[in-house]
Subunit: 216 residues, 4 copies
DNA sequence: GCATAAACGAGACGGTACGTCCAGTCTTGTC
DNA sequence: GACAAGACTGGACGTACCGTCTCGTTTATGC
């Protein structure tokens, strides 16, 4: 199982000054939990900072001392949900892919995950800093799954080793975009179920694509 | 060129009663255009109904008489952007796919399209009616491209005819989700460029996947 | 009994042109009745033109064709309530005064009368035309009661004949203002009951004032 | 000179809790002054909460935090105008009455006073709480003038001492209603000038009435 | 008897204000 | 100096009426 270390202190860090009352560590956890609860109940657009602070039993000031705004707070609040994805060895590349796709689809059934993910992506289209934050907190962290699956498949002989190592990253990115993008689109845009049958079909397509030879 | 008929009367339709002053048709066009302009300048989250009405030279009441809110308005405003996608015959399936992917990527470079699409999808995670609206106004309309490309490929002998006709729809949906989802994810989530090289790689993967034999 | 002719055609009169569909007489009555009903139920400030038109089964246009606005409409609607005041001969000046005071107080207990009277007076402080309309439609019409009561009292020998006829009007006005003003103030500003005991006390004060000799 | 203590905290009082930022005292003064200015310029019906807040340099929220609405705000804003009325000793009851009547008439020439007074009275016909507010903020406070004038007149021997003390309040109320009501009616309803001649006539009537013997 | 022309109902229109809600900041007293 | 509390400015919300307008329809007259 892959467990990544997370920065335990989210959002804005305090200056390294030493005097004064230290920040409450419990507050961070309470705030992030309250944010997830509020996302489930209210969704992104009706979630308010005041509501989160009230749920967390914390003053609004405390929120703004740690996060710049709703976007940043929500990214941090949902990022660790995505870290729960894992990739046990199911014996074959095909099984590994099916497993991770189903796992990802299940995550997207959680309202806080689906609404938060799309909302912050939408916001990030006009906000470079937010885009970076999403990438580092969510996207890049999950590429580990693709890397791991690929290494296993290569060890099993299901996939060839990349000759030109400079392309390794590109291929990883492509596979990641195909899997993540297709599942998100199926689940959230087309609004169709990601069930066993569909996953099998999709995986077959992907397997053929991957094994069809080195990309041009 | 594919030209689809659009529902000429967007949003909320007036009751079929015949009396009273008829609604201004010019207002609809002005409002949708103003919405797109505002999306470009302000983005989704800073776009306000009052601002749109002012740009369109129309009273706020007129907006609310026709659309239930910002979500519905924006869906209609951007839907017709997607109708501009087309699929001229480039001679081969591979070329057709590359063309439509590039075209789609170009559309997603328009700020009004990228921000609006993700925002309404985010909202639709808690709003069944909005989800239906997105599907009928945007998603389903663009599946025509997949259907057309596939028919051409079958005519050219690049793809087999589906034996079980009941699967035709499912395969169309899968291809659509893979193409649209992957491009959206690459462009908006991974924030990487959709350039010629990447398109060729992606297309190669897809071609192998499609030709690898009947799915399932 | 005093019955005054009222202008049967309220508000704005149509030009004396002869062709075209004539205005509905029934509409006028329905509108004024609807206005009074709405005043009772909603009061001045919540009464709306749209509501009146709906109650009267009439289009808003029809209202505006006949009255310039809410103020004018309401003045006309309540004016005739005040015409119902009368002054039967009760045998003495004192009894006549008591009778008319009680009658007036009773009128002011009607919500449409009290709210409409004060509201249009308030509006009239910034609207010369409305002030004139109130005066001609309401105030001046009721001075007849003072004139009649005074003539009777003079005939009975209870009051002297005014030697300087140029003062007759002034004295009428003064008595009118004292009676009407005091009753209105008691009922609507001080919010105290105008009952038999109070009326007797007030009348006694007034009697002494009137009989105390010619005003300086 | 009579100076009455005013409730320093108008409108809605904050809960007696002790935490949080205290309300700005300067805001109250600015708001009431802005309200009076707006009344002069716009009159009652065109005065808006938004306009007042803008003039006072204060957010609309701050207004609504302290006053329930336009009515309550205006009562407080004009109440202190009425507190400026005073009753210096002019040497005789007659002179005292003439003085206060002229003073009151002058107050009613101020547009903010005349329009506000009648408007809130009109509204109060359907609003018990507003009626109480008017009574405590305006009406009852000015009865002090009648009480004072009467005491002086009794000290001078111009008026008898009330034998039945339980009637003292009733007589005060009656005199107050007669004076205030008559002047208001003359000025605002009959729209006639309250000049020296009229005041002398009215005062003579009132003097005779008061000296004519104990009422009832 | 048939054209004329105004009145009529319906309801959309551009505006203005409403009273509420939330964002993000500031000002207290307490820890 | 962090914290809870809550008042602060500012701005958008969605609604309600205003008074005007534009339709199609109705209804007295006068040619």
């Amino acid at each position: 199982m892959v467990t990544a270390m997370r920065n335990p202190s989210p959002g804005i860090s305090p200056p390294p000054g030493r005097t004064g009352r230290p920040r409450s560590a419990a507050a961070d956890a309470a705030i992030l939990a309250a944010t997830r609860d509020a996302l489930v109940e209210l969704g992104w657009s009706k979630l308010t900072m005041g509501d989160v602070s009230a749920r967390a039993g914390v003053a609004k000031t405390t929120l703004y001392r740690r996060w710049a705004g709703k976007n940043e707070l929500v990214v941090d609040a949902v990022a660790e949900l995505f870290d729960a994805l894992e990739l046990p060895d199911r014996g074959s590349l095909e099984a590994d892919i099916e497993y991770v796709v189903l796992q990802f689809a299940e995550l997207l059934r959680r309202p806080e995950a689906r609404t938060a993910l799309m909302a912050v992506v939408a916001e990030s289209t006009r906000d470079e800093a937010l885009r970076d934050r999403i990438r580092s907190a969510i996207v890049d962290r999950q590429k580990r799954l693709v890397v791991l699956g690929r290494e296993r498949a290569q060890a099993r002989g299901e996939l060839p080793y990349e000759e030109d190592e400079s392309l390794t990253g590109d291929t990883t990115d492509l596979i990641f975009d195909v899997i993540a993008g297709t599942v998100v689109h199926r689940a959230l845009v087309s609004s169709e179920p990601v069930d066993g049958l569909w996953v099998a079909t999709f995986t077959a397509l992907l397997m053929h694509g991957l094994q069809g030879g080195p990309p041009a």
